[in-house]
């Protein structure tokens, strides 16, 4: 999953960057509203953490701009402004959640994951597709109820495909959501990860979980079942 973090306090920004990278996210950083606005329009994110009191362009204005441009990425406001008028203003501007400082990183992580899950249409943190079950909270994968060992990037690829089940996902899009901003987008390493994933999920080549649409991208070919609560 790719996440954009905007925060003008450098210490907090570094802390958030390190934390989310540890959690397996690809992280882009912005320390002012202008950069945040640019990154939002240039790249596709799975979630955004937005501070409000940003230099150059106010956080609320960045949110309004994104919604006006039909950028539907879930946005969580992370700010010291904790009076209710500000909260309602922020949510009314288009944010999807609000967390006030000081906060616990675990709570922030849980709420970001919940936002990503909900925006993909999943009420629960467990996603099932065919014999595969993915626990978004614990970042575990099960195949026919047995835990499947995946590398971090293999997990990221599978997670992205499962959260976007009805979409054809291009190699570029997958790369953008798996890696940080500076990654070489022309690299073919994604094909390698998809290939390894197929072998682990479908060793007998009977399930064919991931379909390749030549020249277009990848699509999950397994049917998702109803979310378990």
């Amino acid at each position: 999953m790719r996440i954009l973090i905007t925060e003008d306090n450098p210490k907090l920004l570094i802390q958030l960057d390190a934390f989310f990278q540890e959690q397996g996210f690809s992280v882009d950083l912005a320390d002012d509203g202008e950069r945040a606005q640019f990154l939002l329009t240039e790249y596709s994110y799975d979630a955004v953490i937005m501070d409000l009191g940003l230099p150059k362009i106010e956080g609320i204005d960045v949110i309004k701009y994104a919604r006006k441009k039909q950028i539907t990425v879930p946005i969580l406001i992370l700010t010291a402004r904790d009076n209710w008028e500000q909260k309602v203003l922020g949510l009314d501007a288009g944010a999807d959640d609000y967390l006030t400082k000081p906060f616990h990183l675990e709570e922030l992580l849980a709420r970001i994951k919940a936002l990503i899950r909900r925006s993909a249409g999943h009420a629960s943190s467990l996603i099932s597709a065919g014999p595969i079950q993915l626990d978004l909270t614990k970042q575990l994968v099960f195949l026919d109820q047995k835990e499947l060992e995946l590398t971090a990037y293999e997990y990221k690829v599978l997670e992205y495909l499962l959260l976007n089940p009805n979409k054809v996902i291009s190699k570029t899009e997958l790369t953008e959501h798996i890696y940080d901003q500076d990654f070489d987008l022309d690299s073919n390493v994604i094909e390698v990860f998809v290939g390894r994933l197929r072998k682990k999920i479908d060793p007998d080549n009977t399930l064919k979980p991931i379909e390749t649409l030549r020249g277009r991208g990848y699509k999950l070919s397994l049917t998702q079942s109803k979310d378990s609560v």
């Binding site: 907090l12 934390f19 700010t79 010291a80 209710w84 008028e85 909260k87 949510l91 990183l105």
Partner: protein
């Protein structure tokens, strides 16, 4: 003066009186003029004026010594009587001649009546004109005062933040001073709010960094939480007191927006709004004299607490009676034990919310309720959970 008319016309030669029948003053010539003239010689009447139709008895005429005059008012007969006695020489003798003038009171009374009537009429007219002028002057003075009073009342209700319109120079200074006061109050309020927000921002971000340091001891975590709660409660104190004259605001959009926002944060919870309006007036029924920030803080904390406690639903119920407006928040959670209700309702307490780990939301609700002289009531909801009501009373 009339006696001099008689005097000037009288002559006596060789004891023979020569007095013309018609004299200079026409009033002594015209019958029923109200004036009569008499001349007596040695107590005998020797002449009377042509105006005398009904002579009065000569004994009724006053007597005066030579060179003297006498004036009598005979109220019985309504007569003014005047006599002047002069001495004339004739054949080397001094002969006293008595000249008398009689005037009927009715003429004087008539003239007096005319005079009095005229006096009253002109007096009344003058008084009316002066009164009208005074009224016009008063109105021109009162009108700007009334305008000023009306504007002050509007400012008190928060409907305007400056006095407008033209005032006479005597009131212009008052207008200017009041506008300066209002402007200064707004400025101070904004300054304090910004100060609070800037301070909160400056303190809270470093607190976040501290809180998320690895291997933080539980004691330090607790202290950080305490600092956070102090900041939250002190820097988010209600805005009232910074601005004495508060605008009436419609609370319905505030409630609706707050519920929409909370729906995003708590997607499994169903939020509904119910209105019960029995007030006789049809407009402005949901207006309250409350600062917008405080309204958001009050209702935000109330509904947020309910959402945290709820299993599946939260209802915001607005009841508007003639003298009261009640905002009640219902949830279908586990409710609030009676002992805890008392703690929440007691003033001045440092309170926690009624479910754990939710900061100091109910403390803010209690503070704001007290400040706006509203009443907080906690009972059981028909949904099975708690019903927390804030009751505002209109003056």
């Amino acid at each position: 003066m009339m006696s001099y008319v008689l005097l000037s016309a009288f002559e006596i030669n060789n004891n023979v009186i020569d007095m013309p029948a018609v004299v200079y003053d026409e009033r002594l010539n015209i019958p029923q003029s109200g004036y009569q003239g008499y001349i007596k010689l040695n107590d005998s009447l020797v002449w009377q004026s042509a105006s005398t139709l009904e002579p009065i008895p000569s004994r009724s005429l006053p007597v005066a010594s030579v060179g003297e005059s006498r004036f009598i008012v005979n109220t019985e007969k309504s007569l003014f009587l005047y006599t002047f006695t002069a001495e004339f020489t004739s054949e080397n003798q001094y002969i006293p001649i008595q000249f008398s003038v009689v005037n009927h009171m009715r003429d004087v009374a008539a003239e007096h009546a005319v005079f009095t009537r005229s006096l009253w009429q002109y007096g009344a007219l003058l008084t009316s004109v002066v009164a009208l002028l005074l009224l016009l002057i008063l109105l021109s003075v009162i009108k700007p005062l009334q305008h000023l009073m009306a504007q002050l009342q509007q400012a008190e209700k928060g409907k305007i933040r400056a006095l407008t319109g033209h005032y006479p120079k005597e009131l212009a200074q008052a207008k200017h001073s009041i506008n300066n006061l209002l402007e200064n109050e707004d400025f101070q309020k904004k300054r304090l709010q910004n100060l609070g927000q800037d301070l909160a921002h400056s303190l809270k971000t470093p607190l976040s960094v501290m809180q998320n340091q690895p291997h933080l001891s539980p004691e330090l975590q607790q202290e950080i939480q305490t600092i956070e709660q102090i900041i939250q409660r002190q820097l988010n104190r209600p805005a009232l007191g910074q601005n004495a004259w508060v605008e009436q605001i419609d609370i319905l959009p505030i409630l609706a927006k707050t519920m929409q926002s909370l729906q995003k944060i708590y997607p499994p919870i169903v939020f509904t709004l119910d209105q019960d309006i029995t007030a006789s007036q049809s407009h402005n029924v949901l207006e309250l004299p409350i600062e917008q920030t405080d309204a958001y803080e009050l209702f935000g904390n109330l509904i947020d607490n309910a959402a945290k406690a709820a299993r599946s639903k939260v209802m915001v119920q607005i009841t508007r009676e003639d003298k009261r407006l009640i905002v009640a928040v219902h949830d279908d959670g586990t409710g609030i034990p009676t002992a805890q209700r008392k703690n929440i309702l007691e003033r001045g307490q440092r309170l926690d919310t009624y479910t754990s780990g939710q900061g100091i939301g109910m403390a803010m609700v209690s503070d704001i309720t007290d400040l706006y002289h509203a009443t907080l009531q906690i009972t059981e909801s028909d949904f099975g959970g708690a019903k927390v009501a804030v009751i505002f009373t209109y003056q």
